[in-house]
Each structure stands twice: as C-alpha cells, then as structure tokens.
C-alpha cells in the first residue's frame, strides 16, 4: 500500500455514522464502543458495590433488618420476611458480587473501555482491526450483564455457590437452593467470556498489524504493551472458562456427570446422574482460567500506572524493557501457578510443592515492577495532580496486596489462612486497592481526551483522600480476622466461640465499607457532572508525549488526519533535546526542538 492510500481520510475503514442508532448504539467506532463499555461497567460497578454493602450489613448486624431497603423488599430477592438478609440471599449476594465485579466491571472497564479507547490512539491507528467484531464484543457483554442480573428475578434467586462455583454444590440437584439462577449465571459468564475472547483477538491483531510508521515494539506506550499481554491471556485462558461453564451446564441440564462422583447423597436423596465425575476437575479447569484472569485484572492497571507515573514525574519510565519483560514473565508464570488455589483441596502434596515454587517466583517480576515504579519517581519533578495521586496509591496498595500474597504462596502457612478473611484482604488490595485506583487514575487522566472536558480537581482530591482512608480502614483489619482464623463466606461468625470476639471488628469494617461506598458518590457526581458541564479541556492538559495527546479535542471520527510517523519512545520527558519544554511528542521529528514549537 502506498503512503497516500493509507493516509487518506476518505479511505478510512468505515464511514462516520450519521443516524443516532449507528452512531451511539450499534457503533463501529472504537471510541464510542469504549464509552459504551465505560458507562455500562460503571453502572455494574454501582450495582456490584451495592451487593457488597448488603453483605457487610449482614456480617456486622446478623439477622437485623436492612434499613429502608429491607423494609420495602420483605421476602423478595435476598431478604427474609423481616427484611433481613436470608441465608440463601447472603450466598447470592456474595456470589454475584464476585462474579459481577470480575467479569462485568473490572475486565470490561480496564480492557473493554480503556483498551478500546487507547490502543488505536496509542499506536497511531484509525480504529481497531475488526470494528464489527468490536461492536459484537460489546453487544455480547451487555446482554450477558443483563442476563446476570435477570437471575435475581427467577424462582429461588441467583447463583449461590460462590463465584468459584465449586461442584457438587453448584452442580448436584438440591445441594444449593437456586435452580435457574445458576444456569442463567453460567450462560452469562459464558457469553462474557466470548466477548472477552473476541476482544482479545481484535486487540492482538490491531497491535501487531496497525501500528503507525515508526511505532516499533520498543516505542509502544506501556498501556498498550500491557493490553497486548492481557490479550494473549484472554485468548489462551478464557476458552477454558467457556469449557468449564459448558461442562457444568451439561451436568445441570443434560444429565452428564463431569463433576459428580459415584455415591453422592444430598440429604437423604441419592443424586441420579452421578458416577465417573471428579469434583477436583472443575477446580483445575476453573483456576487454569481464573488465575490468569487475576493477571487480566492487574496487568492493564500496571500499564496505566507506568505511563501516568512517567508523565507526572516528568521522567522516562525506569527500565522500560524490564517492565515489558516482567509483564511477559508474569504471563508465562501465570499459566503454571493455578494449583496454589488448591493447596488444601485434595491436590497431591507433591504437586502442591511444585505450585508453591512457581507461585513464590511470580513475586519476582512483580517486585521488579514495583522497584521500577519507584525508580521512575526517583529524581523526577513530581506533579501531584489527581491522576498521579491515584497512580501512586495504586503502587502503594499493590505492594500491600503483593506482600500478603507471599504468605499464601508459602503452602504450610496457606493451610491455615486458606479460605479466611486473609484471602479477602489480599485480593481486595489487588483488585480494589490496586486496580480500581488505577482505574480512577486512568479515568481522570484520559477524561479530557475522551470527553473534551476536565474533571473537577478538588472533587478528585477529596475523593482520593476519602477512598484511600476508608479503603484501608475497611480492608486492612481483614488481615487480622484472617490471622484469627475467621473463615470467608460466613453469613455470621457469631456462632463460633473462637470467632465471636471478632464481632466488633466486623462492625468496624462494615462502617468503613459504608463510608468507602458513600465516598464513591463523589466520583460518580464528578464524572457525570464533568461529562456535561466540565471546563473545556486543552488538547494536551498533562503535557504528555504519547500520540493521543497530539489529536485535537474533540477527537475526530478518524482519529488522525494524517497517520503519524513515530520517532521516539513514549516517555521522552525532560529530554535535553526538548529544551526549553520538558517533553517531546512521539511524532516530533528529530531536531524538531521542544514540544509546542
């Protein structure tokens, strides 16, 4: 292809839609699809968070009616006749909170929304490689999410076997209360998995094939590198989830017994379709997907943090190559550590030993990343604007979550803390503390480009301070509960003598969690208000050097009027070449001088 044809706006892959339906609903534009993902997953975030608030109410005030909502919804959904959470309802809340947050909030938000928006802009492309497939991804995800919440409305409610859905609890008839709720949830996760696989393929092809001239692999922003590695994860691991879900659905609907061993008796009832199955099989397949999924939840966040830390430190990322190598090794090791979820599950202890070694060593690339982030800050000229505060908090919370992981990797210690609040503390430090902080960082950072307006900085500062405080107050004490042996997924712990003294801690955590939830209203208000009424944003408010900031606001449909030629890496801040400015856009030709000239 000659330079002219590539560069011609008229030859753009799909024309700009003019009617409302094709512009905002069935859109092929990656920027619109990104925003669809963003709005939808923020909505699910609110719903998923509300489920968590209800859970925490029950744990702190066992069997007390939930204020207001409980009174209105007596005997409906997860409430009992007094408006308190019912035992089945409690498990539904916990199960759905986990599934919604993992599959319908975090992955769609960091991959669907930010991946979609940023990848083409970062590599200098006009859209993703397969725009129709991209639309299909979103339109699989949205109905899957709706299906997910529909399950609350069917007889006996939504899935209640934990987000891990271990059979036979999720499988054998009568073992747990929900019937169709479980099926619907499995179908929803199946669909969401498909959406994720399609997205992954799309991003891989886009990054490999559509990079602008000069955008070599070693000039890609780390956000895009992280998305690339995440996409590999999605393409290789998510089919396992689809397989697991399909097998479980077969067991439940078609009378197969993949996971049901012989001689299964629930209560007094022998289960009909048992024999030949193996419950541990599910755990292997599930965790073969779900452990890499943990890295799908964190790698893109590492990318956001890396680029944002560099931009606000006015310094190149420390050890760009090491960052990529460590992400790649996290991926490689990520595929051989799933057994650490199964140290006490009946796995052969010799296997446990192998998984322990691989698990301890996945801490190494994570450690390298932490040191590189610290190295990026070191000697910088740090601007503590809202995205930077969020990004620094990401690093801080990631350190806590990473360090608590070492206890679990040491399998003898894991025997004791497995399935306790220690685990809950650990993964909330990673998925809420680290990932959601990076989402706040990314949202405040790219908001000016996405919506052409600035978010209110004061509200962001306040939201950051409250979230940081209440997050730690809510989740750090969970380490103590775990140390005391407090099991997870207990509707109330007060029946155990050894856990009863922890009741005040549970109350404290719940109050902090409520405050944490309430603090998010600030962000919600700031976001929605700024979309419509925020101050108009300059084209490059953060003086950043990656390609998206070279595009005027609002971003035109075709992104780049002329496809850019890239001359340098993504973090050329404070380069002597840039004098007197302190940054060089990636497309500034050599000898061009400072940015803005």
């Amino acid at each position: 292809m000659s330079q002219e044809t590539v560069d011609s706006v008229a030859d753009y892959i799909h024309p700009e839609a003019t009617d409302f339906f094709h512009k905002y609903v069935w859109s092929y534009d990656h920027k619109i699809i990104a925003k669809q993902y963003m709005w939808t997953s923020f909505l699910f975030l609110i719903l998923g968070g509300t489920l968590a608030m209800l859970l925490r109410w029950q744990i702190a005030y066992p069997n007390q009616p939930v204020p207001v909502i409980g009174g209105l919804l007596k005997s409906a959904f997860f409430f009992d006749a007094n408006g308190a959470i019912s035992p089945d309802g409690y498990l539904q809340l916990g199960t759905m909170h986990g599934l919604v947050m993992v599959f319908f909030v975090i992955i769609p938000l960091i991959v669907g929304a930010f991946g979609n928006y940023l990848i083409p802009l970062h590599i200098g492309a006009r859209d993703v490689a397969f725009p129709v497939l991209n639309a299909l991804s979103y339109w699989l995800y949205l109905p899957a999410g709706v299906l997910m919440f529909t399950s609350f409305f069917v007889d006996k409610g939504a899935a209640a076997a934990g987000w891990t859905a271990y059979p036979p609890l999720s499988d054998a008839a009568g073992a747990s209360t929900p019937v169709w709720g479980m099926n619907l949830v499995l179908m929803a996760v199946f669909l969401a998995g498909f959406s994720s696989i399609l997205g992954g393929i799309n991003f891989l092809v886009t990054i490999v094939k559509l990079r602008a001239p000069g955008m070599t692999w070693s000039r890609l922003p780390l956000v895009t590198w992280a998305q690339f590695i995440t996409a590999v994860f999605q393409v290789l691991a998510t089919p396992m989830l689809a397989a697991a879900g399909a097998m479980l659905l077969f067991d439940r609907l078609a009378g197969s017994s993949f996971f049901l061993p012989r001689g299964l008796v629930v209560g007094q009832n022998a289960i009909a379709n048992t024999g030949g199955g193996y419950p541990l099989l599910w755990q292997h397949i599930f965790w073969f997907y779900a452990h890499p999924a943990v890295y799908i939840l964190i790698l893109p966040s590492m990318g956001f943090a890396s680029d944002i830390l560099a931009a606000f430190s006015r310094k190149p990322v420390f050890g760009y190559r090491a960052m990529i190598i460590s992400m790649a090794s996290i991926m490689g090791l990520g595929f051989i550590v799933w057994g650490h979820h199964m140290f006490v599950s009946g796995l052969n202890p010799v296997m446990g030993m192998a998984f322990m070694v691989s698990t301890v060593f996945i801490a190494l690339p994570s450690g390298v990343k932490v040191f590189n982030w610290l190295g990026t800050l070191w000697g910088g000229s740090i601007r503590l604007q809202p995205p930077m505060l969020y990004a620094i908090s990401f690093v801080s919370m990631f350190i806590v979550g990473g360090l608590s992981g070492i206890f679990m990797a040491a399998s003898p210690v894991d025997i004791y803390i497995h399935d306790t609040y220690y685990i809950i503390a650990h993964f909330h430090y990673v998925v809420f503390g680290a990932t959601l902080f990076s989402v706040f960082a990314a949202t405040t950072y790219w908001f000016p480009k996405m919506f052409g307006r600035m978010m209110n900085a004061r509200l962001s500062y306040l939201h950051w301070a409250l979230t940081f405080l209440f997050f730690n107050l809510a989740f750090f004490p969970m380490h103590f509960l775990g140390e005391a042996g407090h099991m997870r997924r207990l509707m109330t712990s007060t029946g155990y003598e050894f856990l009863n003294p922890l009741a005040p801690w549970n109350e404290f955590i719940t109050l902090a969690a409520f405050a944490l939830g309430a603090s998010q209203l600030l962000f919600m208000f700031n976001f929605i208000h700024s979309v419509f009424f925020g101050a108009p944003a300059p084209d490059n408010p953060w003086e950043a050097s990656t390609l998206e900031w070279t595009i005027p606001n609002p971003v035109p449909h075709y992104n780049f009027k002329h496809l850019p030629t890239v001359y340098r890496g993504p973090h050329e801040y404070s380069s002597p070449e840039a004098e007197p400015a302190d940054w060089l856009p990636q497309n500034a030709p050599p000898g061009h001088g400072g940015a803005g000239h």
């Binding site: 007390q64 035992p87 498990l91 271990y166 036979p168 609890l169 073992a175 061993p261 008796v265 209560g267 419950p279 006015r314 310094k315 190149p316 050890g319 006490v344 009946g346 202890p349 446990g352 030993m353 301890v360 040191f371 610290l374 190295g375 800050l377 910088g380 000229s381 740090i382 601007r383 503590l384 350190i399 806590v400 608590s404 990797a409 040491a410 003898p412 210690v413 025997i415 004791y416 399935d419 004490p477 103590f480 042996g485 997870r488 997924r489 207990l490 509707m491 109330t492 029946g495 155990y496 003598e497 009863n500 922890l502 005040p504 109350e507 109050l511 801040y573 404070s574 002597p576 302190d582």
Partner: protein, 350 residues
Amino acid sequence: MKRFKTLNLLLACLLQPALALAADTKGPSIWLPETVSARGRDIDALYMHILYVVIAIFVITQGLLLYSVIAFRAKPGRKASFFHGSSGVELVLAAVPAIILLYITVSSVQLWSLVRLHGPGKDAVHIQVMGEQFSWNFRYPGADNVFGTPDDVMVAGEAAVPVGREVVFHISSKDVIHSFFLPEARVKQDTLPGLLGRVWSEWDVIPVWNLATQKRELLTLDEYEAAPVAVSGYKFASEPNPVKAGWYQASDSARINYLRYHYDRDPDAKLVVLRGGKPVDEKPAYVQHYFEIACAQLCGNLHFGMRGTLRVLPPDEYEAWLKAQQHDDFLASKWTGIWDEFHPEYNKAL
C-alpha cells in the same frame, strides 16, 4: 524452628514491640490462636518469619515511595533528571528479592514435606470424618481397629481424641465439598466427595475452662492431672457482652451477637470432679472444654452453622468416652448406606 533463629532475633528486636502491642490490645484477640502441636508451632514460626521479612520490605518500599513523592515534588526551577534506567541497578533489584524468595521457598518446601508428605507413625489413632450438609460425622474403628465392622463407634458433631498421640483423620464427604478446619491445630483440608483425604495432628494440651477467670485455658497432661476438673455438672452459657469493644459499636440490640461465655453450675446434672483421673469431693478449678471444628469451604446456605467440637482427653478418659457412646441406627445408616456401599476402598486406608 532453629534455622529461623538468627534472622528472627534480629528482626524481632525491631518489630516485636509493635507486634506485641497489636496482640495485647484490650479488645478481642486479632492474633493467631494459641496452637496445640509441634507442627502448628512450626507453621506459626514460618508465618512469623515471613511476617518479619514482609514488614521489612513493606517499610522500605512504602518509605521510598513516600520519600520520593515528598523529596521530588515539582517546585519552580526543579528539572527532572533524564535517564531510562540502569541494567546494573535492575539486576541488583531483581537479585535481592530473588534470594529472599528462594529462602522462603526452601523453608516452605521443608515444612510442607514435614506436614504433608511424611506420614503419621504406627501408633496413631485413626478416625474417619464424613462431611455432610451441615454437620461433621465421625467413625472410630473400635477394638478390632478395622473400619466398617459392627464394633465401630459413630458420633456426629462432637468428637474426642487422646492427648499426646498422633491422630489421623481420613476425610471425605457424602454430598458437597466441605473443609475440615481445626484452627488451633493449624489443620485444614477440603473433604471431597469421591476422594479420601488424610490429615493428622497431635495435641499436647487439653482445653479446659477456668472457672475463676471464665476463660478457656490449655493445660498439659501433668497440669490437668494435678487440678480438680469438672467433667459434668456444669453448663455452658452465653449472653450479650455488657462491655462495648469500641466507640463504633451500635446500641445493645445490634450488639446482641457479641457474646460473653461462661460455665455455670447446672443444678439438674450430677457434679463429677476428677483429679488425676480419680473422683474427688472438692470445688473444681476447671471444667472440661473443647476445641471447635469449623467448615472452611462454602457448602450451602447453612454453611455458617457447620460447627463441631473436639474434646482432647487424657488416655483413660478418652477410652471411657469411646465406651460411653451409644449406637444410633440413623447415624450408622449414613456410614453403611453410603460410605461402605459406594466406597469400600475408604475402609482399607488404615
């Protein structure tokens, strides 16, 4: 464990005061419950060892983060230094954690093989455990030491083991996955239907309730034999705790589940006090108590109530306890109808 001693000592000097303070608050205990066995102490030692290392890394990294943010914040006239990294620094920063991680791995592997690969001794007591929604069933092999024979002793919810002897639990489930969790023994293992698992532990202490302080205590066999202990005649009771643990606690109605436990004289039951295994006519200092057995794996809507108790008894009292258990046809049918019928291989594991 000896190999941890030097580093532990070094780090303990720095960190122990802070940890002691955290563990010694007036409020509820937030620390590891006191352990009961040699393996439990090993696990705790490894835990503490990792904790010291982790706290050191935490302080260094968070300290550097905070320092960088303060020391390098933008000021008029400051210009960031321009460098892309350093392979040397990178290598050191990878090598140091690698050595620490290798050290933790080696310690963990050694202990793991000790806990999970080296089997129990010949003299061990064997007990079968069958998880069920929502209770724990136990079967003792009886005098012939063979499971699945008429002299088996079966109990539900409440088990007993002798102090000072290895006890092997052969665990499985009849319905869904449960997890057999003995917090004080640091034992936890999922019970999988269709698969027989095996865990073992040894108790060197006997749990009793101190009537003066109304708190649980752990006595060695010698201490137990020297004290007057009530084995019947007392009942366990609880009531809402009158003392608030913190300002954040709500009114009494909401605190109803924060309990204070105590043993009271039960006027309907005959008082039996033993000292050194012999009945004595004196005021008891202790009442025989138990450890709790928990389910640690989500097993259905009443999972939170799947609690059992485990008495640890002197050898002669253990034998007496076994003899006193009555045969229950319904209980026996669970074992013969499910376990012996579908999984006869389970009974050969002994």
